[in-house]
Symmetry: C2
Subunit: 354 residues, 2 copies
């Protein structure tokens, strides 16, 4: 494996207050960079001071959005050690996204080493307060300075880090979600399963409209029939209906969430039945109205578990679990965060201490 | 209207050979830039030397592809004057794209003035050889240095220019197109009608696969039923069937091409019937096999008219117009290029001399 060159920052930044730091606003002292060129492959892996990336105005990423990213976290345990949660799964998913977008894949070991070395160097940025963590954002952008639709011949892989405060500083508050019936996020045959910019750009309008109506998140329906539940903004969704947990299958238009997979594994290990199957909005709302819907929650790296307290669809409104977090959602949240922060055993081998 | 500040380049670049210059590779001496910030609006319109744009690694455009663009051309007439083709339509379409992507719209007059002043300053870059032109690429990118899916609070609007050689240096050669049945470009409710990066990123894989099989372009089917013809890579498509020209309607998933609209207006002025309606691949291939399909062509700024000589779909192959350009395609090409280069009268008021 290539060695990573390190150029340390001459001056270090002041760290933000972990109580008030907003998600994604404040970045650490260093970043990891590596270039790619056709014929040469990935080259010059390096850690350098965090700072602007100068790109030609013709760089492909600005025009044709050939870009992919990942999101994972580093957690500080009570003993002061720092650990990552399922980082290899993020790197594999980055490579899956790369294939869809015709971006060259990364060597998994090198990418993991890059993340580990960078977090180690900026380890003092990993906050220690309850619920806080260091968010890790690896991404790849197409840098060819030519205007014309084709896959780029040059790329930049970067990893940046930002400390994040607790997602639930005031305790877990269930969210209100709005089932979007006009805009579509993704369709089978498209890029829905990849973590690529275009999927997110497409969602901004609906998210803004939902926000104006007082909702926290949009719940997406499938792009073909606009009938089946897909996922919410940056989370997968799971529903407990008549004692069974149901979640939409990975059919190509939704992201294969790592938190989703962790929930499924945990639930099965507890003997809770989980089915990955298509579920219509009609079925979901009927279950909500009849009381069969016991719990509903989103799963994702940022919130871990985000209980859904209310869902609105086409004028219909359903209150879930009395608008409070349900017992299974709470147990998943406690167990996952317990594993992530190293407070409970990790029978699945999910954590990687630095 | 705000005045545009001009900072001239200290040294001018060498101009590329117009016979060999490749599309989108070589840029002129200057570019136009203008910033946007919430509460402040668009500000500091300026023409500056062409050069790199430094952006924070956390800039939204790298992660969530909140970005839009346009493409139009400046043409040098025989008398040496330079003129643009329907530039206001491009600016309006940029604003349409902006609305879909929650990007603040531009003042039309200022955007037009920006393009005109920039082209005037770099006028010596407009080549004069038969078929050559200056390609104009306006684009807007989200620049907020924060990681988190929402619409950006800051943006950069830029215009860059590149001289382009003749699209048909060896005469017009009809292309072979491949009807894609797996990947999908866009779906109603998505961003297909907007000129935004994500639409193009989604197409790269299919275009590469088609290229490997010897095809020049991909013909897209609709994302819902995968039945209806949509458009090709960067062109709309028109078919002459039994004396009538048929083209897919602007139903939300395809770009409202300005060349397409120009073709429709010209055809109607000539008394050729044109229908904007849904057309299935089944109908198209049946018409091809029965001989009812007389001509097929793409329309777009780059090629103007690109005759389709062969189409393949699911193992079926149709040769159109004997693999040669048809008379109506040729007439459209001659008339449109005639108007663009100022060789024939412009009854529609499409050209804007600088
Ligand atoms: C569209 C989308 N779905 C689901 C998720 C949840 O994935 P994960 O659990 O890996 O964070 C995310 C966030 O990463 C996302 O962006
Ligand atoms: C997807 C797509 N469709 C159609 C077109 C043709 O549009 P226009 O005739 O305005 O160049 C383009 C190119 O601009 C395009 O990118």
């Amino acid at each position: 494996m290539e060695t990573i060159r390190v150029e340390r920052a001459k001056t270090l930044k002041e760290k933000p207050n972990p109580d008030t730091v907003k998600f994604g606003v404040s970045f650490t002292d260093h970043m990891f960079l590596m270039n790619y060129a056709d014929g040469k492959g990935w080259y010059d892996p390096r850690i350098v001071p965090y700072g602007p990336i100068p790109l030609e105005p013709s760089a492909m990423v600005f025009h044709y959005a050939q870009e992919i990213f990942e999101g994972l976290k580093a957690y500080r345990r009570a003993d002061g050690k720092v650990q990552l949660f399922r980082p290899r799964d993020n790197i594999r998913r980055l490579n899956t996204s790369a294939q869809r977008l015709c971006i060259p894949t990364l060597d998994e070991d090198l990418a993991l080493e890059a993340i580990c070395q960078l977090v180690r160097l900026d380890e003092s940025w990993v906050p220690s307060k309850e619920g806080t963590s260091l968010y890790i954002r690896p991404f790849i952008i197409a840098t060819d300075p030519t205007v014309g639709v084709h896959s780029s011949h040059t790329y930049l892989f970067a990893v940046i880090l930002c400390p994040v405060g607790s997602y639930y500083p005031e305790g877990i508050n269930p969210v209100k979600i709005f089932v979007e019936t006009e805009d579509v996020r993704a369709v089978r045959g498209g890029t829905g399963f990849a973590k690529t910019g275009g999927n997110y750009a497409a969602t901004i309008r609906a998210a803004e409209r939902a926000g104006q109506k007082g909702f926290t998140q949009v719940l997406w329906l499938d792009g073909v029939e606009r009938k089946y539940i897909e996922e919410v903004g940056t989370m997968n969704v799971l529903f407990k209906i008549n004692g069974e947990v149901v979640t939409p299958p990975l059919s190509g238009s939704i992201l294969a969430g790592i938190t989703r997979d962790s929930c499924i594994q945990l639930l099965r290990s507890w003997g809770v039945p989980v089915t990955e199957r298509k579920i219509t909005a009609v079925e979901l709302f009927a279950a909500g109205e009849s009381g069969a819907l016991e719990e509903a929650f989103g799963s994702g790296t940022a919130a871990v578990i985000s209980p859904i307290g209310e869902m609105d669809w086409d004028g219909r409104r359903v209150i879930v679990s009395g608008g409070k977090i349900g017992p299974l959602s709470q147990r998943l949240y406690d167990t996952l965060t317990g594993i992530q922060w190293g407070k409970v055993p990790d029978p699945f081998g999910w954590v990687l201490p630095l």
